[in-house]
Symmetry: C2
Subunit: 351 residues, 2 copies
């Protein structure tokens, strides 16, 4: 069957011919519909993150997938629409994180990540997965189901952020989303009903992401004009900061962007970068204003389920505008092209 | 009546003669037994923090008090032993923090602090307080009741830390307490039943705080030999870091001292201090390992109540060793002397 993968040492993904997998006991066989592409894929392709399974010379890409069950398992029956979670036990052996259903809390080394690190992804005509790692999606969301994974990433970060504020009466009103990539925009769409939302980017108008931010009723903040730590003075303090840029200075400036009792959720994965901070001031701010910073990676089954509901509530126009292009598998290269007008791309298999 | 206070511009506390307060409606009159001295008092005396009530030229010190009710109010009756909470509404006007019983979550400016900022403290023969701000203490804890306030500070920080880890199955085993002052030692005593505890200081042996740490079954870590970020390599990673030093570099190094899914609670209040950090690495650590950092200040009624139970469970030998000296009010100067062998002091009024 056809698969899109990256070969060890290669600089670009390639169309590979790989064997169609046979489901083992407890596994479903899934026919792939669409697979989204995100920043992590680009990091994997660049060799900055993850890599092929042990002993193999290529990695099938793709961790944002939606497919249709061909051979059921557990509660899953043929024609069910499903989205796979990403993490799998290393060496097929579980550990306490998997036993708890919280593989997302496993540290690096205690989990493989399909399509990213040590396990083949979903960008192939078929894939298999234990039923426990497949989340059902209503049939009418099949075409958008590849967005469940990125939405689940935001769900988990928000869950950790809210948990950190759960010991007192927290009534957040203002959210600052750092990053106007697809994850940032999905998060703006998630938060806009409950928050006054600001979204930070560094782009000139006209720009399709700025159009989406404003159409969602949020305010675009150009960080070249207003650095993150100046947002409270120019706009207003944020109760919640959602960092989805991987720009490390944002993480530190977030503390000053927060209002009293606020929380910053960090999701980006920057490279090492040494710079000066007023550490005394940041430390004091954290304490005197009861602020919190939480890091968050990956997501688990409950976040996927919450993401399905969240996706169902998103307006069609937003999803249409977010999705720059869907390309058939034979034109996969176009899904990996980055440009100023590209927001989100996906590879489509037999529809 | 006699009170210990700091006059505006003075460098040392003085014995003052002030009017005995008359309880207003809803207020109890409390005869003071003991008042502890801590680092915040020294900061107030040095003029680095807080100050007298608006329009007054002195501040009665003391925020760690225990006393006996002379004139009751609400549920309080004469002879009840009580400990006062510290924060009071500014201008006698409440706000949403006070309305929720969560004055500890009020930002600076939305609360006065008795004995610290804008309201007289408890280091006087008598004080008055609305009954709602007085926490009952069993009579047999009267002599140690002044420790309820500092213990409550740790209770709140732990509450925020635990809340931040409440969305997943967190099973912490190792705690790293930064600081071997009285708050650090009280925290070691609080955590030792549930954690393998390490306590960081920068003192040579022989030292009374190191003796206490070891007698509590904890391990003393000299940060001059083992910086906080090297604790995982030399000892083990910490699930919980409790920072009680105000040393800003500790706050940043704490992130690297944590194991996967760990949380650092910051309590210190440093001055501005600019230094270099590998912000990229810290940011990535936070994300990839789902780490959290929470700041915490002050404490509320439920933390005081928890602290009463916690105090009751502390061994007598520990309290005796912690309390370096108790001085009668006429010798109050000795309670403010700092030395390498001073851990905790208190001023005693008529016993």
């Amino acid at each position: 069957m056809r698969a899109i993968g990256i070969e060890r040492g290669a600089e670009r993904p390639a169309l590979l011919e790989v064997p169609r997998p046979d489901p083992e006991s407890g596994e479903a066989l899934v026919r792939t519909l669409r697979v989204g592409v995100d920043g992590t894929d680009h990091e994997v392709i660049a060799g900055h993150h993850g890599g092929p399974p042990a002993g193999e010379d290529h990695l099938v890409l793709g961790h944002e997938a939606v497919g249709v069950v061909e051979a059921g398992a557990g509660p899953l029956e043929p024609d069910d629409i499903v989205v796979p979670t990403v993490r799998r036990p290393p060496n097929g052996e579980g550990n306490r994180y998997f036993e708890r259903g919280e593989a997302d809390m496993a540290p690096p080394g205690a989990a493989l990540e399909r399509g990213i690190d040590g396990a083949h992804g979903f960008m192939s005509e078929y894939f298999t997965s234990p039923a426990e790692y497949l989340i059902e999606v209503p049939a009418d969301l099949a075409e958008w189901g590849f967005l469940v994974e990125p939405i689940s990433i935001a769900e988990k970060a928000l869950e950790l952020a809210y948990a950190s504020r759960s010991s007192f009466g927290w009534e957040p009103e203002t959210a600052l989303v750092l990053g106007n990539g697809s994850l940032g925009l999905l998060t703006v769409a998630m938060l806009r009903a409950d928050y006054e939302v600001y979204c930070v980017g560094r782009r000139d108008r006209p720009d399709p992401t700025i159009d989406i931010i404003e159409a969602l009723g949020a305010t675009y903040v150009d960080s070249r004009e207003t650095p993150v730590d100046e947002v409270p003075a120019v706009y207003e303090p944020a109760d919640l900061v959602f960092e989805a840029t991987g720009y490390a200075k944002h993480a530190f400036r977030s503390v000053e962007a927060l209002g009293p009792n606020g929380v910053a959720a960090l999701l980006g994965v920057p490279e090492p970068w040494t710079f000066e901070v007023d550490g005394g001031r940041l430390h004091k701010e954290m304490v005197m204003y009861n602020k919190a910073v939480v890091g968050s990676v990956n997501s688990g089954p409950r976040h996927f389920r919450a993401a399905v509901d969240r996706l169902a509530a998103m307006p069609e126009w937003f999803l249409e505008d977010l999705l720059t292009r869907v390309v058939p598998v034979e034109s996969f290269e176009a899904a990996f092209e980055e440009s100023k007008t590209t927001i989100k791309t996906a590879v489509e298999f037999e529809p």
